[in-house]
């Protein structure tokens, strides 16, 4: 029978040369609030995707504002694997992500706002659609608006037709945005 390790030993194992031991330690630290700072520190340092995924899974389980804020900084990462993994983790944190949205929706880096749309696409929160509508209505960058449209469409209905048509009028020279909305309108209006 495996011996249970204390929190300090598990935290030490986050630096173990063996990725499998690091992964196991990250998972065993689930539900251990005192390990959160150590786990957050590993998010940007861990190079093994399976270990990073374990760290993110454990962190997402806390669904606290401190964890969400600590993860959200990585949405601006230059590493595609990290920013997408973080977006996936944040999408499982409906209790704490809403508190970050004012800052994320106002992020000066439009790529961060694109990633925010990815988070909202999968966030199980009753206001997720409203935030996406706000992005479609207000965001000045066409790539952010198209990302928000893509995130909204699976759950969109006839009530969103006006929002989508207004987006086309805001960006008349963006062929992709126009195509996306025109392709979706028949279904939303019940004429497909």
């Amino acid at each position: 029978m495996p011996q249970l390790l204390d929190t300090d030993e598990l935290i030490r194992r986050l630096d173990d040369p063996d990725p499998e031991r690091r992964r196991e330690a990250a998972l065993e630290l689930a539900g251990t609030p005192e390990a959160v700072p150590e786990l957050l520190a590993r998010v940007g340092l861990e190079t093994e995707p399976r270990v990073r995924d374990a760290v993110l899974t454990t962190l997402a389980g806390h669904d606290s504002e401190a964890v969400a804020a600590g993860l959200a900084v990585h949405l601006a990462s230059d590493e595609a694997g990290l920013r997408t993994a973080v977006a996936e983790a944040l999408a499982t944190m409906p209790g704490s992500v809403p508190s970050l949205l004012p800052n994320l929706l106002a992020a000066p880096d439009h790529d961060v706002r694109v990633m925010t749309a990815m988070v909202l696409a999968d966030l199980p929160h009753p206001e997720a659609k409203s935030w996406l509508v706000r992005m479609i209505t207000d965001d000045p960058h066409p790539n952010v608006v198209t990302a928000a449209i893509d995130a909204l469409l699976p759950a969109a209905s006839a009530e969103h037709i006006g929002v989508l048509e207004a987006a086309v009028l805001r960006f008349p020279d963006d062929p992709f945005l126009t195509f996306t909305v025109r392709a979706a309108l028949p279904r939303l209006s019940g004429t497909a």
Binding site: A80, A87, H110, D111, P154, A184
Partner: protein
């Protein structure tokens, strides 16, 4: 017929790229992430891959690296298209094995022209 695999987690982007390429005469299949793309490439030969960067399960860079690895070993051209236009993004794409990196939005005519030239073995930026 020239076969293209469009790889993007956004259904609307896949639909857009697929429509444009089909209208231009390409045969197009779709994958929603890098993992699906690699699985498709291991069973079906493609003449061109059009790959997004930010995708769940396997991002675009990892996807292209795997396509170029011994596991898959495809030499077919890869066009990466992303919203990312930070310094170094294009270098990262070329290091992974992409033939060309374009930043969204890509005009319809340019996408078709680039796809045509890449599959004909020509440099689309020449």
């Amino acid at each position: 017929m020239t076969r293209v695999l469009v790889v993007d987690d956004a259904a609307t982007v896949r639909l857009y790229h697929t429509s444009l390429l089909q209208e231009a005469g390409f045969e197009v299949a779709e994958a929603a992430n890098g993992l699906e793309a690699v699985e498709a490439a291991m069973t079906t030969p493609f003449d061109l891959f059009v790959v997004d960067v930010n995708m769940p399960k396997m991002n675009g860079y990892a996807c292209v690296e795997t396509l170029r690895s011994e596991t898959v070993g495809t030499a077919a051209p890869v066009l990466m298209i992303s919203t990312e236009d930070r310094p170094g993004d294009a270098d990262r794409a070329y290091q992974a094995g992409a033939n060309l990196y374009l930043v969204k939005p890509v005009a319809a005519e340019r996408l078709v022209r680039v796809a045509t030239m890449l599959t004909a073995g020509k440099d689309p930026e020449a």
